[in-house]
């Protein structure tokens, strides 16, 4: 195999071996560059995955709710000027129209992993003399558990929501001084319109965000409908997707299809998305700059090598080596330096990642977050570095191929 490159690869490897220290230094240089790129890529991707998991762990990827109520401006008079001031309307709890019919359609939509109807409202939780404001969330527990992966957030008790049962955020339970099995009174509305219901706590959950843990009370959908005053209704439908980055596209297509207000997690977390984008761009810039440095490093070493090997190139040309063969000898040297540097660099990156996960730990003694260098990413970076090696070798190789053999050997 590759007998047509047998001569070129053998000469290329010998040239590299001959300039051992020079070759070693540039391979280590490439390895350092590749290690930085691989480590930063893994770190940022781990950081972003961790941030996303924490952010999206307690919220849906797409939310479908009734459109906001707006106040229609009075008709303008036929003639004369009009000074108009419109007071925005207070948004009362309303149900998504025909939400029961929507569920099977959304369940069948491509890319949708889970669909959960919800009734959300505000209220108070009372236990003895303690009263805390709460976010009342009425759900079908099996569906909702798949939206926020509730199983992984269970702190105590059993994930169950039968009639008269409720699940509390961990911090809220602490504030109220209750445990699994205790009862809590839930109150919505005020004055004569106040509605109350008592629930027995079946589980405590840690939703990953302190504010949510201090306010969230999960109750059965039907109980929430009664407490919020929306019999048979659902204030919104939550969706979880297979790929979180498809959320804006799906939200847009749903909004075009039905007259609902559809928001993706990117709409509700714009600052986070901006931060992630800025992070990705910065990482891309760092990677590009490091790769440019790698290219320049390889190129400078090969340029020196062409000067050093001038006489050898001349003798090879005199013996009948074609310009193409000389070109390939130096391109191969670039590729070999890139490939060896990549292999070493990936190994270094794995070592750095291991050191990060073993030595950099949070106050709880656990790693701050998990970072791993996926084989696909490692291969991608190694391939890019090898291609960079070849690109770096182009100019020196062309210079070597263009050498006048008579001058080179001073025949």
């Amino acid at each position: 195999m590759l007998s047509w490159l047998g001569f070129e690869h053998r000469v290329a490897l010998r040239f590299l071996r001959e300039g051992r220290m020079q070759s070693l230094l540039i391979i280590v240089g490439v390895a350092a560059g590749v290690a930085v790129v691989a480590y930063i890529s893994a770190l940022v991707s781990g950081l972003q995955a961790n941030t996303l998991e924490k952010t999206l762990g307690a919220q849906p990827h797409v939310t479908l709710s009734p459109p906001d109520e707006v106040v229609a401006a009075a008709a303008a008079p036929a003639s004369g000027a009009q000074l108009l001031q419109v007071q925005p309307r207070a948004q009362r709890p309303r149900s998504v129209a025909n939400w029961q019919a929507l569920l099977p359609l959304l369940d069948a939509a491509p890319g949708v992993a889970a669909v959960s109807p919800m009734v959300a409202g505000a209220g108070l939780a009372q236990r003895g003399e303690a009263t805390k404001s709460i976010a009342l969330v009425g759900v079908e527990i099996e569906r909702y558990a798949r939206i926020v992966n509730l199983n992984s957030k269970l702190v105590a008790g059993t994930l169950r929501l039968g009639p008269g049962e409720g699940i509390l955020g961990r911090d809220l339970a602490g504030d109220l001084g209750v445990r699994v099995g205790d009862r809590v009174n839930l109150v919505t509305g005020t004055g004569a319109g106040a509605v109350s219901d008592a629930v027995r706590i079946t589980a405590l959950v840690d939703l990953g965000v302190r504010e949510l843990n201090r306010r969230t009370v999960l109750v059965p959908l039907r109980a929430a409908q009664s407490l919020v005053g929306l019999p048979g209704g659902a204030t919104n439908i939550d969706l979880a997707l297979d790929d979180v980055w498809q959320a804006p596209g799906l939200a847009k297509s749903l909004a075009q299809r039905w007259p609902y207000k559809v928001e993706s997690w990117q709409d509700t977390n714009a600052p986070l998305v901006s931060a992630l984008n800025a992070q990705s761009i910065s990482t891309g810039l760092i990677r590009a700059v490091v790769m440019v440095v790698v290219v320049l490093g390889i190129a400078s070493v090969l340029v020196v090598s062409v000067v050093q090997k001038r006489r050898e190139i001349g003798i090879l040309r005199a013996m009948g080596t074609t310009r193409g063969q000389v070109l390939r000898i130096f391109l191969l040297q670039g590729a070999v330096v890139g490939a060896l540097g990549s292999a070493l660099g990936v190994g270094l990156a794995v070592g750095l990642i291991w050191a990060f996960t073993h030595f950099v730990k949070g106050s709880d003694g656990l790693p701050l977050f998990i970072i791993t260098l996926h084989p696909k990413m490692a291969l991608q970076i190694a391939a890019i570095a090898t291609v960079c090696g070849v690109i770096a070798a182009v100019a020196p190789a062309r210079r070597a191929a263009a050498l006048d053999p008579a001058q080179a050997i001073r025949l």
């Binding site: 001569f7 000469v11 010998r14 013996m319 009948g320 074609t322 310009r323 008579a406 050997i409 025949l411």
Partner: protein, 242 residues
């Protein structure tokens, strides 16, 4: 009809910096032919154009005007790729400073032409290279790098490499110029022997009149023209009695 000469130069001119104020004509209407199997010396003072002529004959440099026929074919207008292949098939080179590849062993240096041509070295090619090293008395040094060999030994390896492809012509540029007297004599006698045994033509550039006197033909260049072209009886030391 007689076979064409190995090489034939007619009214060859070589100018450098054509059209510039420092234009210089190095070879001035030179005509020369060399038959297959000749053993000729090219002599002349420094600046007479010997190296330029050898470069042109070696297809390393283009001529400005005139004709150059190699094995009957006009090669003056060929492009670089064609010249390279022609060089590979027809010519062997021996240089003053040995010019072996230092990263390759003696044997690998001798098998380089086969590797360059085929991308691999067959067992037959390897055997042929070993036989050539044996012929120059260096079979035992086959695995050694050039840096481990003396100047004379390196030059013998270079001769083996020049001859391994059985080219009809070997061009040698001051092949003994960097050697002491004993090594010079050894290398020269080796070239004579290989010429005798293989029938390869040699064109040897030398400043050493004693070596020139031991060649069958002496071509002297002065100011870019052939001032003398004589055939002579070579010294008996190089031609053992039958």
């Amino acid at each position: 009809m007689s076979a064409p000469p190995l090489l034939e130069l007619a009214d060859l001119r070589k100018r450098y910096n054509v059209g510039r104020p420092n234009e210089a004509e190095v070879l001035r209407g030179l005509s020369l032919s060399l038959a297959a199997g000749e053993f000729a010396a090219l002599i002349g003072p420094s600046g007479s154009g010997k190296s330029t002529l050898l470069n042109i004959i070696g297809l390393l440099e283009p001529l400005t005007t005139g004709s150059y026929r190699l094995q009957g074919d006009e090669v003056a207008g060929l492009d670089d790729a064609a010249l390279t292949l022609r060089r590979r098939r027809t010519l062997g080179f021996v240089f003053q400073f040995h010019h072996l590849l230092p990263a390759f062993s003696a044997l690998e240096n001798v098998t380089l032409p086969a590797l360059m041509r085929d991308g691999t070295v067959s067992a037959a090619e390897r055997d042929r290279a070993l036989a050539m090293l044996r012929a120059v008395g260096l079979e035992a040094a086959a695995a050694k790098r050039p840096g481990e060999l003396s100047g004379g030994m390196q030059q013998r390896v270079a001769i083996a490499r020049a001859l391994v492809g059985a080219p009809p012509l070997v061009l040698a540029d001051e092949p003994t110029g960097n050697l002491d007297t004993a090594a010079s004599d050894e290398v020269f006698r080796l070239m004579r022997r290989m010429h005798r045994e293989l029938g390869t033509a040699f064109l040897i550039v030398t400043h050493d009149p004693r070596l020139a006197a031991r060649c069958d033909r002496v071509i002297e260049l002065v100011d870019g023209r052939i001032a003398r072209d004589e055939r002579q009886v070579a010294a008996a030391t190089d031609n053992p009695a039958p």
